[in-house]
């Protein structure tokens, strides 16, 4: 058995050029599934029956702001600019370095749109930090990711599209 490290599950944000930039200096990036349950009791049964009818994935995040970082610049622009609607949507890519893909040097990845819901900022003394929640805004797209610069950036190809 081999432990899967937290740093093997990398997150990236789509930049202006279409490539995905690694999300650095995040002190928190925890996913929640937030299932919506439908519970009822049928008259012919003695117990309740429950189904999960929807799942609303969200990601609680917190990061220390760094200069000259494209991801931070985009997030800070949305938060400080109090952007709403489509202007607050970001595309995130999760790459699982513990799951190799079908081709050499590729890994299983998931792309999805999220809306940025700002939270608190400036609550630490050692660095200026921003916090908030990414809430799901689109369908999950699975595929594979590859990188040529040690995962500073990566490219994503949907399943079935071929790498």
């Amino acid at each position: 058995m081999k432990l899967v490290k937290r740093s093997q599950k990398l997150s990236f944000m789509e930049g202006t050029s279409g490539t995905f930039n690694r999300m650095k200096a995040f002190t928190a990036f925890s996913k929640s599934k937030n299932p919506k349950e439908y519970t009822r009791q049928y008259v012919d049964l003695d117990q309740e029956t429950t189904d999960v009818v929807a799942i609303s994935t969200s990601v609680e995040f917190n990061f220390d702001q760094m200069e000259n970082d494209e991801v931070h610049s985009k997030l800070v622009d949305i938060i400080d600019g109090e952007k709403i609607g489509a202007d607050a949507i970001v595309t995130l890519l999760s790459v699982d370095l513990s799951k190799p893909g079908a081709t050499a040097d590729s890994f299983v990845a998931t792309k999805r749109d999220f809306v940025l819901v700002p939270g608190t900022e400036g609550d630490k003394l050692e660095a200026y930090s921003y916090g908030g929640t990414f809430k799901v805004k689109g369908q999950k797209i699975t595929g594979e990711a590859t990188s040529t610069d040690n995962w500073e950036t990566c490219t994503f190809v949907e399943d079935g599209a071929g790498i």
């Binding site: 490290k5 937290r6 740093s7 990398l10 997150s11 690694r22 999300m23 650095k24 200096a25 995040f26 002190t27 928190a28 990036f29 220390d64 760094m66 050692e126 660095a127 995962w151």
Partner: protein
């Protein structure tokens, strides 16, 4: 190496005696001479989820100074360290920090203590101040 970059950084401090040697892990018996000694400590201040780290390099900056019953001389020795601490703060504010190699980038440099007398002989004494360089190390 980080200590090499710290030495380069401190060597241009205008407060230092221009004719004095700036050593690493060594301080001779004669005034005036300087040294930078690394200190063992926890290096990781903060770990980020992607594997990046905020780290610290703790070191002592020490000097061999003239010393004796002359109060003015001893005040001058202590005053040097007060000014040195302020110089580090100024450099941090200006963003003029040691240029590190590879995936490391300096964040700040600061004194963690005031300058203090560490040991003395009949006519010289070692003064020192504990400092640290905080830097970001990419994965």
């Amino acid at each position: 190496m980080i200590i090499d970059k710290i030495r380069d950084f401190i060597s241009v401090c205008p407060l230092l005696d221009e004719f004095a040697k700036l050593n690493v892990d060594f301080l001779g018996p004669n005034a005036t001479e300087y040294t930078i000694d690394s200190i063992p400590t926890d290096s990781i201040l903060k770990q980020y989820v992607d594997g990046g780290k905020l780290k610290q390099y703790v070191f002592v900056f020490g000097s061999r100074e003239f010393y004796g019953p002359d109060v003015l001389q001893n005040i001058e020795n202590s005053g040097f360290y007060e000014k040195f601490s302020e110089w580090l703060d100024t450099k941090t504010e200006l963003g003029e920090l040691p240029l590190l190699e590879g995936n490391k980038e300096s964040d700040s440099i600061e004194a963690m203590s005031s300058g203090y007398l560490f040991g003395s002989t009949e006519d010289t004494a070692r003064y020192q101040i504990q400092c640290r360089l905080i830097y970001y190390e990419d994965k």
